[in-house]
């Protein structure tokens, strides 16, 4: 049963690196703003210790070395200003409410604090907040995922329209929590076709009571959902399956609980999927 009513305004944080501006984040942010009547806060992290050049590029024995350093710093500042302008213009053109937050403090800690008073955080999965490129998920993204107080939508490098949703259900409480949060926070997207995707080793049987309860929950939130069960190692089968599907899908998964130690030994499903830069990943945890 569906009713149409006035929407509560959501608060969405979109995280940008002013020196390596992510087009994908901007596009998703604007789209989410329109779709969900959300206020988008562009968070531009401008950590003092991070500039676009390494220390050796700045080093020079020439007399006017200081001038050239000043010049380079000014160039960085200019680029950061231009990034903020791009964000502002895109929001204005789309007619959505927005705010800009430029943060000169230690990037991660501040962002995590900000996430307490936000409903969703958008970030490009390849964001590293350093000059270097790192394999995704980067240290920066990992830290955000582990400490965030609101769900995160990890974005691929290129924007695609979301037309389908897969919930990667592994039976854990946190994956169910993520599914609930998805329905609360992005009700417009929960109208899209949804499939519940799970993988089990041959011979491994789920608990019957759990299966009934999960069907009941899904039938209420997404009455037309399909159930797909794969057989085999989840780490292999799920990415394999997803690669064969349309790219225009969003994946829901619960991940990154505070138990950081176990993460060191075992790559989570989120890690595996982030590496492929294909799908937006909706990740939530309740710790």
């Amino acid at each position: 049963m569906l009713t149409i009513e006035l929407l509560v305004m959501k608060k969405i944080l979109a995280v940008f690196d002013g020196l390596k501006f992510s087009d994908s984040t901007l596009k998703y942010a604007v789209k989410m703003g329109i779709q969900h009547n959300a206020m988008i806060t562009g968070v531009f992290l401008e950590d003092m210790t991070y500039s676009s050049r390494g220390i050796y590029q700045l080093y020079s024995e020439k007399e006017y070395a200081l001038d050239s350093v000043k010049h380079l710093v000014a160039e960085d500042r200019h680029e950061r200003d231009a990034a903020v302008d791009r964000f502002e213009n895109a929001c204005k053109d789309a007619g959505i409410a927005y705010m800009v937050h430029r943060d000169k403090q230690l990037a991660v800690r501040d962002l995590l604090k900000e996430s307490r008073y936000a409903d969703l955080l958008l970030i490009d999965a390849s964001e590293s907040m350093t000059r270097y490129t790192e394999e995704s998920p980067t240290h920066f993204v990992r830290e955000i995922l582990a400490g965030t107080r609101c769900p995160v939508l990890l974005l691929p490098r290129h924007f695609t329209d979301i037309r389908r949703v897969y919930w990667l259900h592994d039976g854990s409480p946190v994956s169910i929590y993520a599914f609930k949060m998805f329905n609360y926070i992005l009700p417009v997207l929960s109208e899209l076709p949804l499939d519940v995707l799970s993988a089990k080793m041959p011979g491994e049987e789920g608990i019957e009571a759990d299966k009934l309860l999960i069907k009941e929950l899904v039938s209420l939130h997404a009455p037309h959902a399909g159930f797909i069960s794969l057989t085999g190692q989840p780490d292999l089968e799920i990415p394999l399956f997803l690669r064969k599907q349309d790219k225009e899908s969003l994946l829901i998964l619960g991940a990154y609980q505070r138990n950081a130690l176990s993460m060191l030994f075992k790559a989570s499903m989120a890690d595996l999927l982030v590496k492929e830069h294909q799908w937006p990943l909706f990740i939530a945890h309740n710790k």
Binding site: E5, K11, D161, K287
Partner: protein, 296 residues
């Protein structure tokens, strides 16, 4: 230029929302059914446009209650007490389920029933994992002893449930306001968010945020909090008091009427205080409100 920012065709956009059905559980001891709660439960379901899923906890594995307690329950359910205890218990459960269904029908509540026979706490925690909200009576107990409210069972459910828990008020005559308790800690924010996500329809209702010693939260953070609240609620009021947290909250909550009180973990120890018999009169009034607790 920004062609990609057009909303999806065929999907609802901008100022319209699709309210997705929620899974709301009405938890009850199969032997002691408190139908007077149903008024409130019906209101919540109407609000969330959802059906009411009653979980009847039958506690067959480890029944600790005495024969005479079961007999009393049977009498309350309107049965003749002539059978032997085991079948009497069965019969009472069946009768109560029937009474519940009839009552729902009379009130126009769409309902379904789960019968959970195992350990009540384990059963309810599992159910809560797959639910959006759990409605509970503060007096629910499976113990043979006389207990104060909230009972140990209720406290256990509150601290272990994997979805928010709402303690139902004894009597119900509408909801006039929402009262959020805020102390700047992640768990109080979590509770406020969860409540807001479950009932976005209540944004037009009078909303009060109460805090004890609000200065303990940094001004910057308070500002961010207010900003979030203003985005989600239209009629906001902020109340505060100084000093002892327990007494301060009681004071702030005392005069509220027809409210739903929302609490984070703050609530878990606080709740017991509210119900504590030591300061009987004023405090009992507080518990006549519905209390929503979510912890993370």
């Amino acid at each position: 230029m920004y062609s990609w920012c057009q909303p999806f065709t065929g999907l609802t956009s901008l100022s319209e929302i699709l309210i997705v059905m929620k899974k709301i559980l009405y938890v009850t001891d199969a032997l002691n059914l408190h139908l007077e709660n149903l008024e409130f439960a019906g209101y919540i379901c109407g609000l969330a446009q959802s059906k009411l899923l009653a979980v009847f906890l039958e506690n067959d594995e480890l029944e600790m209650r005495t024969e005479s307690m079961i007999r009393t329950a049977a009498v309350n359910a309107g049965l003749n007490v002539t059978e032997e205890t085991l079948s009497l218990k069965q019969h009472t459960c069946d009768t109560n389920i029937q009474r519940f269904k009839t009552a729902c029908e009379t009130k126009g509540i769409d309902c379904a029933v789960h019968r959970d026979r195992g350990n009540p706490l384990a059963e309810i925690i599992l159910e809560s994992r797959y639910a959006d909200l759990l409605l509970l009576d503060v007096t629910t107990t499976f113990s043979a002893n006389n207990e104060g409210t909230p009972t140990d069972f209720v406290k256990d459910v509150m601290s272990n449930a994997e979805c928010p828990v709402m303690l139902m008020p004894e009597s119900f005559n509408g909801v006039g306001e929402i009262v959020f308790t805020y102390d700047g800690k992640p768990s109080s924010i979590h509770a406020i968010k969860q409540f807001t996500y479950l009932f976005p329809q209540l944004k037009e209702l009078k909303t009060v945020v109460v805090s004890v010693n609000p200065e303990e939260v940094s001004p910057e953070e308070r500002y961010k909090f207010r900003e979030w609240m203003h985005a989600h609620y239209n009629y906001l009021d902020f109340l505060s008091s100084e000093g002892n947290v327990k007494m301060g909250l009681v004071e702030l909550l005392l005069d509220r009427n027809k409210s739903i009180v929302v609490m984070g973990a703050y609530g878990r120890s606080m709740i017991s205080n509210f119900f504590s018999p030591s300061h009987a009169n004023p405090v009992i009034k507080v518990i006549s409100q519905a209390v929503f607790i979510a912890h993370n």
